[in-house]
């Protein structure tokens, strides 16, 4: 496995607290885990068989030392599984399979990076921002939400204090740019004057319709775009074949697993 083998671990919740519509959960686990931004975990913490399946959550942060680790998640309550997760408290046990999937790639030749998060999609691009911040790379962040209350707290944004770096967008204009994150990105592209070869890369996660619009903006300009897709998953590690998405393979379209070959795909491959 190119990006580290998965493990099944039992952890204990450190804290699991709401901030607006988002929950942030930190879990103590037996070993420190390393992950690539965009990788995820299958998470289940509720007793009993209903709901049956664990929930895929992007890994937000990991820490610790050998023999003692922590891992953090940010999630939004969207259904019964995440509602049950949100009811767990410090000290509660939780089961995790992680790290899973193919995360974002950072080839290195790009001069600047634009990170795009729609809705709770920021949870998989913020780890990428943290990595780029650590490399002192040039990056900007575009965050979209329906309304002001649905944006993540500013202090969660890695490197977010740098002036001009963060572009907030709301559908109702209650914060930042009045419009979708894709529209803000279109403005940014219009203002962008590449000198020499196109050396911007975009990393995006959010609703599929948003990702499609971003792809339609970026791909004709030869801007390299990686998208992190969502799907219903049963296993998360490649055996159930339930989460597939159509991907181009030469002339053909084939079904690839979002949990294994993804969740991050090159946008040129995705059959939108």
């Amino acid at each position: 496995m190119p990006q580290g083998s998965p493990r099944f671990v039992h952890g204990t919740i450190h804290h699991n607290t709401g901030s607006g519509i988002f929950y942030r959960m930190e879990v103590a686990i037996p070993e420190r885990i390393d992950f690539v931004p965009g990788q995820f975990a299958m998470v289940s913490g509720w007793p009993g068989n209903d709901p049956l399946l664990p929930r895929p959550l992007a890994i937000f942060r990991s820490g610790g030392v050998r023999g003692k680790g922590t891992v953090e998640f940010v999630y939004k309550v969207v259904g019964r599984g995440t509602a049950l997760l949100s009811g767990l408290h410090a000290g509660d046990p939780i089961a995790l399979t992680l790290p899973l999937g193919h995360g974002f790639e950072f080839p290195g030749e790009e001069r600047s990076w634009w990170l795009v998060g729609g809705g709770v999609g920021f949870s998989s691009v913020f780890p990428a921002a943290a990595a780029l911040d650590g490399q002192r790379a040039d990056f900007e962040i575009f965050l979209g939400a329906r309304t002001r209350d649905q944006l993540p707290p500013g202090e969660w944004i890695p490197g977010g204090a740098v002036p001009g770096r963060v572009h907030l967008c709301t559908d109702d204009g209650t914060a930042g740019f009045f419009g979708t994150v894709a529209a803000a990105l279109r403005d940014r592209i219009d203002r962008w004057r590449p000198t020499g070869p196109a050396r911007v890369a975009i990393l995006a996660c959010g609703p599929r319709e948003m990702l499609k619009v971003v792809a339609e903006l970026a791909l004709p300009l030869d801007i390299r775009l990686q998208v992190s897709l969502e799907s219903y998953m049963a296993c998360g590690f490649g055996v159930c074949w339930g989460c597939v998405t159509a991907v181009r393979d030469g002339e053909k379209s084939v079904y690839r697993r979002v949990c294994k070959e993804g969740p991050v795909f090159d946008a040129r491959e995705v059959v939108w």
Binding site: R7, A234, C240, G242
Partner: protein, 310 residues
């Protein structure tokens, strides 16, 4: 102090010897190799590899799975690499896993089933072939053969003649008389029957007015099906002399013991692998602990000992 002798968990499905009665079910375990990051798969009774067809199969369009109360519906459509690529690319790597392997096979026609069985007969790593006569998610083949005794008998007889490997026939629960179906497989030469495959089900979205699965219907699995599976395994055990492999919603050692109690020779664990990659190992350990606690020295002393009021 003398160590207590650990209970003998070994099981037999016809001529196939298993170190314990817990196998991973087809379609929930890849080719086994996907689980090597989690544990040593040679600890399992056997690994049933994902269903193989003659040609590579693309599978159904997404959405392929939907969660239901204590269960899930799937309509994967048997996406797989095809028997040729399996034999050339996967089979040579199976020995490294050290497990007992059984190949699950599928065809749209009897001829396709025969061709797959013949090709797999050449793979020494395979201990047996499990005939999938019960997939509810493909338009041709599968359940079309498995839903009545005549169809199943014809298919089993032909595949029986096509391979020297032990032949297990995986039965559909979507029938009125499971005993008659199991007998048809037995009379046609099956070495064992495996049951149950998934129960055909459906889920819809009242707002969009659409089915939740692109295939409209799918196969229900998970704890929701377990009581149905247990009843059918019990009935099949009474109907045939060949070994019955029990499967359906097993999540724990207690669940597995139920199937062994009604007479199953061994069990398969499927959907539980999705929720907990270590499920099979925890079930094996749980069975061993139960036997130690109950002072049962051998699996054979426990199997099929269900007590009924006379």
């Amino acid at each position: 102090m003398t160590q207590p002798v650990p209970p003998d968990l070994s099981a037999r499905v016809g001529s196939v010897h298993l170190k314990n009665p817990v196998m991973s079910a087809s379609g929930t375990f890849g080719y086994g190799l996907e689980f090597t990051p989690f544990y040593d798969i040679s600890r399992l009774g056997a690994v049933i590899v994902k269903g193989l067809s003659l040609l590579p199969t693309q599978g159904n369009a997404p959405v392929r799975i939907v969660e239901t109360p204590a269960g899930m519906l799937n309509a994967i459509g048997l996406q797989n690499i095809g028997v040729e690529r399996f034999v050339k690319e996967v089979a040579p790597r199976l020995d490294a896993g050290g497990a007992v392997y059984v190949a699950n096979i599928y065809g749209r026609t009897i001829e396709e089933y025969e061709a797959v069985a013949r090709r797999l007969s050449e793979v020494p790593a395979l201990a047996a072939i499990e005939l999938n006569a019960s997939c509810p998610n493909v338009k041709e083949g599968g359940i079309a053969f498995g839903s009545n005794p005549q169809g199943l008998s014809g298919l089993t007889r032909r595949v029986r003649a096509a391979t020297g490997k032990p032949l297990w026939v995986k039965l559909s629960p979507n029938v009125s008389d499971i005993g008659a179906i199991a007998r048809a497989a037995e009379e046609a030469g099956a070495d064992a029957v495996t049951l149950i495959n998934t129960i055909v089900g459906m889920a819809v979205d009242p707002r969009t007015r659409r089915p939740l699965l692109s295939n409209v219907t799918g196969g229900l699995s998970g704890p929701a099906v377990r009581p149905v599976a247990l009843r059918m395994v019990w009935e099949a055990c009474k109907a045939v002399k060949i070994p019955v492999v029990g499967i359906g919603g097993i999540q724990s050692a207690v669940d597995a013991l139920g199937f062994l109690l009604v007479g199953a020779a061994a069990v398969q664990v499927g959907t539980a692998n999705f929720r907990n990659p270590n499920a099979c190992i925890e079930i094996i350990d749980g069975i061993r602990d139960f036997f130690v606690r109950e002072k049962i020295s051998r699996l054979d002393d426990y199997r099929g000992t269900l007590l009924l009021r006379e």
